[in-house]
């Protein structure tokens, strides 16, 4: 170090950040140094828990798995703009409106970080959007549920973004460098999303009976879908059936099982629900002294598969809206292209004349 006035560009942006994110960022920074000590083949790098970078050799299966996962993640971010975007014009105050716009804009930004990470694997963003529009690639099923009341904006921030953070923090250590770096940025920004959601419900919990009932209704509708966000069971008996988990773990794409993350989430959320004075809609929910975890009732996986396969309340609407937005924005993109071509041409003529 050549000076002592050292400014850390990764310094925390707000107090809600977890140490995990910071640790992952530091980890990524030293990865290069550690890399010097191991071989440079894919297997050697993975075995040494090193990052794979875009131009490294990688198995086709690894590349395909990552493209599928990052694309689905990116699609989820941009489709995820819709449920809350729906409330921007009806937010109860100017403060809430400004916050909601910033949050929805963040979701668009997260989509862009992720699309650009996917592009480092040799696909084009436009191709991925075509696949989304044609229903050939998925987005998170959670966004196929409707936002019926203002309290839903609170429940989405608190539960849905809470579950997303739980899923995403381990991805900050994903073996694929560009994905891990995108996730570090995303996680830093998500913490505001969850806190603003909690604050909406906190305000409602201090309000009238009708406001408290609205908050409770939102929690009732979003609790189970939030638990489903971690994906189907992949430990115990379910693990024997196969699936992506085992291979993704071996490749360092996935760090924890769906079931472990779901349990962590429940353990974190139950005390928060109590603080909000909300009753979670699960009669089997109880603290298990023996394991030290909150035990919860069975999840309706039939509902999960039904919504995933297209039979949710908003599946058709979300894609229709997305396609319409894309098509209605075409003239802007065309104008920008024409403008760039015109000025490029003018510059070239000038250069050749000089």
């Amino acid at each position: 170090m050549y000076g002592n006035d050292f400014v850390d560009p990764d310094q925390p942006l707000n107090a809600a950040e977890t140490g995990d994110v910071e640790a992952a960022a530091a980890d990524a920074a030293t990865a290069r140094a550690r890399r010097e000590q191991v071989g440079s083949s894919f297997d050697e790098l993975i075995a040494a828990d090193q990052r794979i970078e875009p131009r490294d050799d990688m198995p086709e299966g690894y590349r395909k798995t990552l493209i599928r996962q990052i694309a689905q993640h990116a699609h989820s971010e941009i489709i995820g703009m819709q449920p809350e975007g729906n409330w921007i014009s009806r937010a109860p105050s100017l403060r809430r409106k400004a916050i909601l716009m910033a949050k929805v804009q963040d979701e668009a930004g997260h989509g862009l970080y992720l699309y650009s990470a996917a592009e480092t694997l040799g696909v084009d963003r436009a191709e991925l959007l075509d696949l989304l529009h044609a229903g050939k690639q998925r987005y998170s099923s959670i966004f196929n549920y409707p936002t019926l009341t203002w309290a839903d904006c609170g429940a989405i921030g608190w539960l849905v973004d809470g579950a997303a953070i739980m899923n995403q923090v381990p991805l900050c250590r994903c073996s694929y460098g560009p994905y891990a770096r995108a996730m570090i940025r995303v996680c830093k920004e998500e913490s505001f999303h969850q806190r603003q959601g909690f604050e909406i419900l906190w305000e409602l919990s201090k309000g009238t009976d009708a406001q408290r009932a609205m908050a409770q209704d939102a929690a009732n509708r979003w609790w189970w879908p939030a638990l489903m966000m971690f994906g189907p069971p992949d430990t115990g008996e379910a693990a024997a059936k196969g699936g992506h988990t085992e291979q993704s773990m071996a490749w360092g794409i996935k760090r924890f099982s769906n079931d472990d993350l779901r349990q962590k989430f429940v353990d974190m959320m139950v005390p928060q629900a109590q603080r909000l004075g909300l009753t979670l809609p699960d009669p089997d929910l109880r603290f298990d002294e023996e394991s030290g975890h909150w035990a919860f009732g069975p999840i309706d996986w039939d509902e999960f598969w039904r919504v995933l396969r297209g039979d949710g309340a908003c599946n058709a609407e979300r894609i229709e809206h997305r396609v319409a937005a894309h098509e209605e924005g075409a003239w802007v993109r065309e104008a920008a292209t024409a403008y760039a071509d015109k000025h490029d041409g003018a510059r070239r003529r000038q250069e050749s004349a000089a």
Partner: protein
Amino acid sequence: MSESSPTESAVAAPKAAERSWPLWEVFVRGKRGLSHVHVGSLHAPDAEMALRNGRDVYTRRQEGVSLWVVRASDITASSPDERDSFFDPAADKVYRHPTFYDVPEDVEYL
């Protein structure tokens, strides 16, 4: 050289034109006194739009005081395949590091 009007070609094949938007790599100076650091990439039709989009995508929380955008196609990179031969010349020059030198332990500020 055949003269074709760029505006016409854009109208004729808008989709193709949109798909050919070049990729730009984005670098942000986080604070005065720090160098620009690569933060990611984006597609844009020209440098001006790349700057504007870079601001919106990468500096929504005052992460930067200065932004560079560089066409990805203008960057020449070393190849990971030749990592060994390319960086080897530095490997056997330990005398470039201060710890290489034998000096008495009781000398201060050295």
